[in-house]
Amino acid sequence: MKPKFLLVPGMLLLGGCAVNPWLPYQEAVRCHLDDKGPACDKFYKQTIKADPKLRGIHASYATHLLLQGNKEEAAKEFQIEQTNYPSESTKSIALLLNPTAAVAAAPEPVKPVVDTAAKAPAAAAPVAAPAAKPSKNSKNTAATKESNRAK
């Protein structure tokens, strides 16, 4: 067998070992929400290493760094996110970096809102059958209950 024929299975094997960058990203967000501070840095770095252009990761890491007082690194990360996704990220990043503008654009005092547009289709949606009971013998039996789905 010629060596070049080994390339395809080799690439498939390597592809199979590739880390899904969303997994360390989930860990990073969870760690941040648990207020674990610098201990979360490793998850952000793992994500960036797995996919340096993953949507939102640099904005996430930048906010995390900013909250720890690391303004310089945060500014660099925000810059990378804005370079990668200029139209999607610029507005929210600008607001975060300029709190005065954020307050100016703040929502009005909260009143109970009845969003009729959202409620109408839900009320018309059919109600599905109740969840099936998990079978006693099956391993990790899954039962799902679905209702109120937009058509």
Partner: protein
């Protein structure tokens, strides 16, 4: 004859694969408005469990983003809400959708309610239930683009023939309940019914 069998086998395999994939739900409004950027709001807890936000938000956010949307970073979103003295997910969820367009510049918001986060232990079996109610709304018009409610229940396998072992297994499983894998799976199955966004990458 042999090639016919091959075609038949391929046909069955294709049918089996299609049968496993959750059905994608779309509407004329969704096709017309085609959101690109989404703000995943912090999930609103309607259960008695107090750790639901920390445990469910990362999954809901990442599963939606993996459908091919640019989802605003949760850390950034939460910080902006805090800056505006908005800490309660219920309060955030009740804001008019247009405010999210004004502040974040996003095309759509995903509102999530955690409807179930519980484990049931009945003598020799235990079941973990995680339920979400999700809706995707256009921020400019408030139009409902997609909605789905689902509760996922999973029972660990306790059956090994020995009643005493089954009893102990069920008690141990109930005590060491891990909700995260079930929350993640439920969020994944639910978001698979959202049409793919422009950044979707086939795995």
């Amino acid at each position: 004859m042999r090639s016919n069998l091959r075609i038949l086998a391929l046909g069955f395999a294709a049918l089996a694969l299609v049968g496993c994939a959750p059905k994608v739900y779309t509407t004329a409004d969704f096709e017309r408005l085609k959101p690109k950027t989404v703000l995943v709001l912090p999930p609103e807890n309607t259960t008695s469990n107090t750790e639901v936000l920390q445990k469910s938000y990362p999954f809901v956010f990442s599963e939606l983003a993996q459908r091919g949307y640019y989802a605003i970073a949760p850390e950034l979103a939460l910080q902006l809400f805090r800056a505006n003295k908005l800490e309660d997910p219920g309060q955030i969820n009740s804001l008019p959708t247009s405010k999210f367009n004004d502040v974040f510049g996003v095309d759509a918001v995903l509102r999530t309610k955690v409807t179930e986060w519980s484990s049931k232990y009945i003598v020799i079996s235990s079941t973990v239930n995680v339920g979400f109610d999700m809706e995707l709304l256009d921020t400019k018009t408030g139009t409902l683009l997609w909605r789905h409610s689902q509760t996922l229940s999973k029972s660990p396998d306790n059956s090994n023939g020995n009643p005493l072992a089954m009893l102990i297994n069920a008690a141990v499983n109930a005590a060491l309940t891990k909700y995260e894998p079930i929350a993640s799976e439920n969020a994944r199955l639910m978001t698979l019914t959202i049409p793919q966004g422009q950044y979707y990458v086939k795995k």
